[in-house]
Symmetry: C2
Subunit: 555 residues, 2 copies
């Protein structure tokens, strides 16, 4: 399932780096690259937690440090040696390299197409440290194809590495490859389980500890879906992005979080309104769904600590897990939204962007409340609107019909219809009227934050479609000085019209119209590009400093 | 073969630490513990080396950083995580912990019976990361005993780790356990081999790279014995001390060194004199060996870089390798003396000791020339004097007859007879007369450096025997203020007499006399103890800063 880091390529920032691809950046250049990550305190109020729960969190943070080191080793077999080497280098260049190494979990700048920034670092290995260093993809594929089915499943599975063995290859499960480290992590999870009072948390921790030792994660993934209570840990091998060779192998990561009670209550209120929103969607009433299915689990949390794959380069703001398709079939997947991380990104990137993009008078209308409410409702809106459709009398799905245009259009739909939905809830009195002026202005500023990451991936392209559409309908207006503002006379109409257009294309499964829309509006127009070029000095993301975790008694 | 770090326990320093074994030391205490290791530049003059040779050294240093990280992981499965954690801690306590962690290669103070100095560090695992964390020695022994002979040999071998596998254990060879890292190290050794011009160096590097990948070290150990030329690298898994459970498993280490031409020439000159020295030993002429065997290989080098097991806690000043008994039988073992490390220890520990121990007038007579010459000749003297003896008409060896008293007496013999031998070479005109006053005074000061480490191990006990014997014969004299000095009227006679006494005990294989000598003189007398207590502030050893290696183009 995708992880939402708002893309991994920074168009603007690249200019800094391109000129010197042959060598590595010097200390001054490196400091510029590092400055793209604004150091930010990340923590949460634990005053309502019991002492026991705080001790549970301490153990989980401690276990996460093991996860952090395992991920470093997974990225590259040279990482541990390079870290030790950089730690001893007291020169300014050495300090900067260590700093950026820790941000990137290796000597390659993830924001800059993995450009190396430490002298002598080789190209980032596509297969990370999951496959033998000199093995080619073709060699590995040939060997995998030659295996009996059960062995092939192990070779291509999430939780094994492939090693050279004489003239062939062998499969080494994670619980052998990382045995010493996993045994330590498992002990810490068991100690946490012993301290925990919430039964579902106890169960998850005990089963996850067993999984680390047995290499069978199924039962602990199920237990994770059933987690209740304030402590919400996600710890283990999960995402496969670091394996750029095959996307087979799971990287270790950890999110240690606590639930946000206020936002969780707000989510419940929104959930109760979803059918009413569906019933008022600005589309042909026959296209509305008279009975929405159960809401996919969503939880809003605050991050105490993130480690490994969950803390490299651009920070994760939300994730969907688990990835085991058997668990998804049986229990579904859970979406976890990291509110304090979103808040930090809002403060350190969106607010500075708004100071460039908006006229001075409108800057007061940029609010985190509006930003986060829209993100929450965006997630909910994925469940509304057309999904299972009929085309020429044939039952089909929007996804099947729209093919590669599906993703950007679905992202655009969730965004634009979230504005429609929030307005509906304001009009109905469920949300305060005071939210209205901030809603659209905050969204306008946030479009620049998204487009900055490029329009080649679905989210950025979907945003470009909306920005251009709202400009064309004069719901957004460009001022003489290039700044943009919301047109209060046209915005509601513009949002409603685009919601209708997109949902109608989806309902009709009209690939041709979807493609035409993307080609026409999913682009960066010159006036937008000029504005983006003024954002060079604005940080791209945050560098978290886990202030709460450092206060926990970990040992 | 033993490694000579002059012991691993510091009697004096212990007092600092004992009081707080329950908790960990605070930042101030930790700084005191760190201050026992005097930061010292370690390097060598490479101006005579070719560019190619300097590039070879750069590659070897780079490979050594891999070795460093592997050793860290071998010591404890939690080390990588703790390092990452400490690197991020900017508090004074955090900085001090990181510093001492890097000195000790883990969170335990090797000078203080492995007392933990980072909060939450468990007791140092006896089996390091070589055996499954929760496995007991009895469980492992039972399992090893149950294996067929060939498997048992692998399980108890140098180059495998033991891992849990279901309800039993399995054997994982180093070339699987550390495959990614060893492949990188092997590549770097091959790159070094390609740059090298000296054929024996090329051969060693190619064969050692093969060994890292194949797990078969025999041929590369043989190639190491045949190394010629200025570059002398020692890199691979060697010593078994870190495996305190069984002493089976080899720790990764690396010494990257260059030969010291002047000292190597001096060694040749000494070697030519050995038979003449033997012919003049102050023992019954019938006990002298009329035809000494070939000299065991000795090489004097300067260290450019040390990594892994070769750079933790007290620094290695000399070592004997390899450990493979088959290679020793066929090719012997080689003794490598690290001159610049000896020099650093001399400057940072022996000189400050001499300022306490000697009267002011004698301090000018403490010289590194005398110190190192005596150490070199000490090594040569092990080959002289009685070894194969006859007792009651039965052919036997000194080692067999003297049993546990053999080691301290042999160390004492090599020391005291080295003074005799150097005096003989001065009298003969082979060494300059100017050496004479410095020889004995330097030795007197150095006895305190050795005894400081305790008299429970052979070297310290042997030194105590000599110091007390020379005091009793008034070859050394105690001044009224407690300082000590050499008595020029008695010193030669005292040295000659003790050389005679010890060699005669050896020639007679007289266990009773040997034991009596050790019991009577191998002790710390009160006046010596009072002097030792004045040495608290003197550093125990050095913390090397590899100044030459940091100038090499490594990548």
């Amino acid at each position: 399932m995708p992880r939402f880091v708002l893309a991994s390529v920074c168009v603007v920032a690249l200019a800094v780096v391109r000129a010197q691809e042959a060598s590595v950046p010097d200390a001054a250049k490196l400091e510029q690259m590092i400055a793209r990550f604004a150091p930010t305190d990340i923590g949460a109020d634990l005053s309502q937690l019991s002492d026991a729960d705080r001790r549970v969190l301490g153990k989980l943070v401690e276990a996460s440090t093991i996860i952090d080191a395992l991920f470093l080793r997974q990225v590259w077999a040279g990482n541990d040696a390079m870290l030790l080497d950089l730690v001893r280098d007291q020169s300014p260049a050495g300090r900067a390299r260590l700093h950026y190494f820790l941000i990137n979990k290796g000597p390659w700048s993830r924001l800059d197409h993995n450009q190396a920034f430490v002298p002598g670092a080789p190209a980032k290995p596509e297969g990370a440290n999951y496959y033998p260093p000199a093995a080619t993809k073709a060699d590995l594929e040939r060997w995998m194809q030659s295996l009996p089915e059960a062995e092939r499943a192990r070779a291509t599975g999430f939780f094994t590495v492939i090693r050279r063995s004489g003239n062939s290859f062998s499969i080494v499960p994670y619980n052998v490859e990382y045995q010493g480290e996993l045994a330590r992590a498992a002990s810490l999870l068991r100690e946490a389980a012993a301290l925990a009072t919430e039964p579902t948390l106890k169960t998850f921790l005990v089963k996850r500890a067993e999984a680390l030792l047995s290499n069978d994660y199924y039962e602990s993934d199920v237990a994770w879906m059933e987690l209740k209570g304030v402590i919400e840990p996600t710890i283990g091998p999960y995402e496969v992005y670091e394996d750029e060779l095959f996307n087979y192998k799971a990287a270790f990561e950890s999110f240690i979080t606590v639930q946000d009670a206020a936002e969780t209550a707000k989510l419940q209120r929104f959930a109760a309104e979803l059918q009413d929103i569906e019933n008022h969607l600005p589309i042909d009433p026959r296209l509305r769904n008279p009975k929405l299915g159960a809401l996919a689990p969503i939880t809003v949390v605050n991050e105490i600590f993130a480690a490994g794959d969950a803390n490299r380069g651009v920070q994760t703001a939300a994730f969907n897990l688990p990835n085991d398709e058997r668990v998804i079939r049986e229990k579904g997947a859970k979406r976890v939204m990291l509110k304090n991380v979103q808040d930090a990104k809002f403060a350190k990137t969106l607010v500075p962007i708004s100071k460039v993009v908006l006229p001075a008078a409108d800057q007061k209308d940029v609010s985190f409340e509006a930003f986060f409410t829209q993100i929450l409702v965006h997630e909910l809106m994925h469940g509304l609107g057309p999904h299972n459709i009929s085309k020429n009398g044939r039952a089909t799905t929007v996804r099947q019909e729209l093919k590669e245009t599906y993703s950007f259009l679905e992202e655009a739909k969730a965004d634009i219809s979230s504005l429609f939905a929030v307005q509906h809830l304001i009009d109905k009195g469920v949300l305060p009227k005071s939210l209205e002026p901030t809603l659209y202005t905050t969204f306008l500023a946030s479009t620049f934050r998204s487009i900055r990451f490029g329009v080649t991936e679905a989210h950025g392209k979907g945003i470009a479609v909306q920005l251009n559409s709202l400009l064309d309908s004069r719901a957004f207006i460009t001022n003489a000085d290039g700044t943009l503002k919301v047109n209060p006379d046209r915005i509601k109409e513009g949002v409603t019209a685009l919601t209708r257009d997109i949902m109608t294309i989806q309902a009709e499964g009209d690939y041709v119209k979807a493609k035409a829309l993307g080609d026409r509006l999913g682009v960066v127009r010159p006036e937008i590009q000029r504005m983006l070029e003024q954002l060079t000095a604005v940080p791209v993301d945050i560098e978290p400093r886990f202030t709460t975790s450092s206060l926990l008694v970990r040992r």
